[in-house]
C-alpha cells in the first residue's frame, strides 16, 4: 500500500490534519463552537469552488473565504452568531455560491464530489507540503497563545475578569479554526470536516480531565480514524470519509457509554 505515492501522500497529509484537528477540536468543544465549524465547512466549499473558478487552488479559495468569514463572526457577539436562522441562511447562501462557482468553472461533477466528500487519490506532493506548512503555522500560534486560549475557552468569565483580551483571542482562534477547516477539507472533504474537528475532542473529555490530556487523547482518536479510514478505504475501494465518520462516531458513542457507566445513571 505504501509503495503507492498517493497513499504515502494521503497518510502524511492525514497525519497533519489529525494532529491539528485533534488539538483545535478541544477548544472548539470547550467554546461551544461545533455549530460554527459546520457553517465554516459550507463556506469552505464555496471558497474552494471560487478558487477553482478563478484558476487558483481549491485550498487558497477556501482559506480566503473561511478566514474572512471567521473574522466577521468573531466581531459579532456569540449570541448573535448563534442565532440559528442566520446560521442556516448563511449556510444556504454559501452552498448556493459554491454550486454557482462550480458550474461557472466548467468542472466535471466528480470535482464537486471530491471537494465535498474528500478524495485520497487527488492528493499530490505539493498538497502535502501546503498542509504541513499550514498545520505548522496553526500549531505554532496555538503554542504561543496556549495559556490565554485555555483560560478563555474553559472559563470565559474568569478570563474576562482577569483582564485577558478575550475578543482578540476569540478572533485569532476563529482564524485558526478557519485554517484547520481548509486544511482538513483536503482529505475528508468540506462537508465532513466538522467530524474531525468535533467528535475526537468531544469523546476525549469524557475519559480525561486536564486540557493537555484531552488534547493528547483527541489527537489519538483523530489519528486512529484517519489512519484506519485510509487503510479500509484502500482495501475496500469505498470513500474514506465514510470510514472516518464511522470510526469517530464509534469513539464518541463509546465515550457516552463510558460516562453513563461511571455516573451510574
Amino acid at each position: 500500500m505504501f509503495s503507492l505515492a498517493f497513499m504515502q501522500n494521503a497518510y502524511l497529509a492525514g497525519t497533519f490534519i489529525a494532529i491539528i484537528c485533534g488539538t483545535i477540536g478541544v477548544f472548539v468543544i470547550a467554546r461551544n463552537l461545533s455549530f460554527l465549524t459546520h457553517t465554516l465547512s459550507e463556506i469552505g466549499f464555496a471558497g474552494a469552488a471560487f478558487g477553482i473558478f478563478m484558476g487558483w487552488t481549491a485550498l487558497s479559495g477556501m482559506l480566503i473565504f473561511t478566514v474572512i468569514s471567521s473574522v466577521i463572526v468573531g466581531q459579532m457577539s456569540v449570541k448573535q452568531s448563534r442565532r440559528e436562522a442566520s446560521i442556516s441562511a448563511i449556510s444556504a447562501l454559501f452552498i448556493g455560491l459554491g454550486i454557482l462557482f462550480l458550474s461557472l468553472s466548467n468542472q466535471t461533477s466528480s470535482y464537486a464530489t471530491s471537494i465535498l466528500f474528500g478524495s485520497v487519490i487527488g492528493i499530490a506532493h505539493a498538497d502535502v507540503i501546503r498542509v504541513a506548512v499550514l498545520s505548522g503555522i496553526v500549531l505554532l500560534v496555538m503554542l504561543g497563545l496556549y495559556r490565554p486560549l485555555k483560560f478563555d475557552s474553559f472559563d470565559a468569565i474568569g478570563a474576562k475578569v482577569s483582564g485577558l483580551w478575550t475578543t482578540a483571542i476569540s478572533v485569532v482562534f476563529l482564524v485558526l479554526v478557519a485554517m484547520s477547516v481548509s486544511v482538513a477539507a483536503q482529505i475528508v472533504g468540506s462537508l465532513l470536516i466538522f467530524i474531525l474537528l468535533t467528535l475526537p475532542a468531544a469523546a476525549a473529555r469524557y475519559f480525561v480531565h486536564t486540557v493537555s490530556k484531552m488534547i493528547g487523547l483527541s489527537i489519538i482518536f483523530a489519528l486512529i480514524g484517519v489512519w484506519l479510514g485510509l487503510y479500509l478505504s484502500y482495501v475496500t475501494n469505498l470513500p474514506v470519509s465514510f470510514f472516518i465518520a464511522s470510526i469517530e462516531c464509534l469513539f464518541y458513542f463509546a465515550a457516552l457509554g463510558f460516562q453513563r457507566l461511571r455516573v451510574g445513571a
Binding site: R147, K150, F151, D155, I157, K160, V161, S162, M214
Partner: protein, 230 residues
C-alpha cells in the same frame, strides 16, 4: 496608622437612562475586610466592575496605592455557569489563572497552584472534575483560582448566595483566614447581614443615590437592615 489600598472619590457611573452612582466615596485600607450591602440592582456588581477597570467611570476617580499595576485583584464573580459536564479537574481549573507564555506550568507555578488549593481546602479533591464538585467545593475552587496569583485585593460577589448555612461559614472562615494571615484585603458583596456582621471590619451600605460607610462594630444587624432598606 492605616494605609489605603484603594480610594474611591466622587465616583459617578451612568448607563444610558440609568445613573447608578452620582457621588460615591469610600476608602479600602490594606488588610481591611469590607462588606458591601444593598438591594438588588443598586449597583454592587457595577461598582466591582469599575474597581476592576472593566468599566470607565463617568465622573470622579478610583485611586490605587501605590499604583494600579501593583494592586493585583482576585475576583470571584457572581455568576459562572459551569455545568455538570464541565470536564477540567479542580487543579487544572485553578491553574487557568496562572499567567505566562510557556505552554506548560513551571515547577514554581505548580507550587503556586498547590498552595492556593491547600489554603482553600480543595487539595484532597484536586483531581476531581469540577463539574462533579458540590456547590461549596465549587466556591472554594473559584476562590483558589482567584487567589492563585497572590492578589492584594480579593473581591467576592455574593459567593455564598447558593450555599447552605454551614458551608457559608466554612467559606467565610477560609476568607477570614486569608485576610488575617496572607495580607489579602477583602471586599465582600452579600445580602446576608448576619454573615456581614460576623466577618467584616467595615461596611459600605448602598442605596439609590446615597451611601453610608463605617465601622461594622458600631452597627447592629437591625441598623444594617435599616441603612439598606429603600
Amino acid at each position: 496608622m492605616t494605609e489605603p489600598l484603594i480610594a474611591v472619590e466622587h465616583l459617578g457611573i451612568a448607563f444610558p437612562n440609568n445613573q447608578v452612582f452620582e457621588d460615591l466615596n469610600f476608602k479600602i485600607d490594606r488588610g481591611d475586610f469590607v462588606t458591601v450591602i444593598g438591594e438588588n440592582g443598586v449597583g454592587k456588581t457595577t461598582l466591582i466592575r469599575a474597581l476592576l477597570g472593566m468599566l470607565k467611570p463617568t465622573s470622579g476617580q478610583i485611586k490605587y496605592f501605590p499604583n494600579k499595576k501593583a494592586t493585583k485583584i482576585g475576583y470571584v464573580p457572581q455568576f459562572r455557569n459551569l455545568d455538570q459536564e464541565y470536564p477540567l479537574t479542580i487543579e487544572d481549573f485553578v491553574g487557568l489563572n496562572v499567567h505566562g507564555w510557556l505552554p506548560w506550568l513551571t515547577k514554581a507555578e505548580h507550587q503556586q497552584v498547590r498552595t492556593a488549593m491547600a489554603v482553600t481546602n480543595v487539595k484532597k479533591i484536586a483531581q476531581r472534575p469540577l463539574g462533579m464538585a458540590s456547590g461549596g467545593e465549587k466556591q472554594r475552587a473559584y476562590l483558589a483560582q482567584a487567589i492563585v496569583e497572590q492578589p492584594k485585593l480579593l473581591i467576592l460577589d455574593e459567593s455564598t448566595a447558593s450555599l447552605d448555612n454551614e458551608m457559608k461559614y466554612e467559606l467565610l472562615d477560609l476568607v477570614q483566614n486569608l485576610n488575617q494571615t496572607s495580607d489579602i484585603t477583602v471586599f465582600f458583596v452579600t445580602h446576608d447581614l448576619p454573615l456581614a456582621k460576623k466577618y467584616a471590619k467595615h461596611y459600605l451600605a448602598l442605596r439609590p443615590g446615597e451611601q453610608q460607610f463605617g465601622d461594622m462594630a458600631d452597627m447592629s444587624i437591625e441598623q444594617l437592615k435599616e441603612v439598606t432598606n429603600v
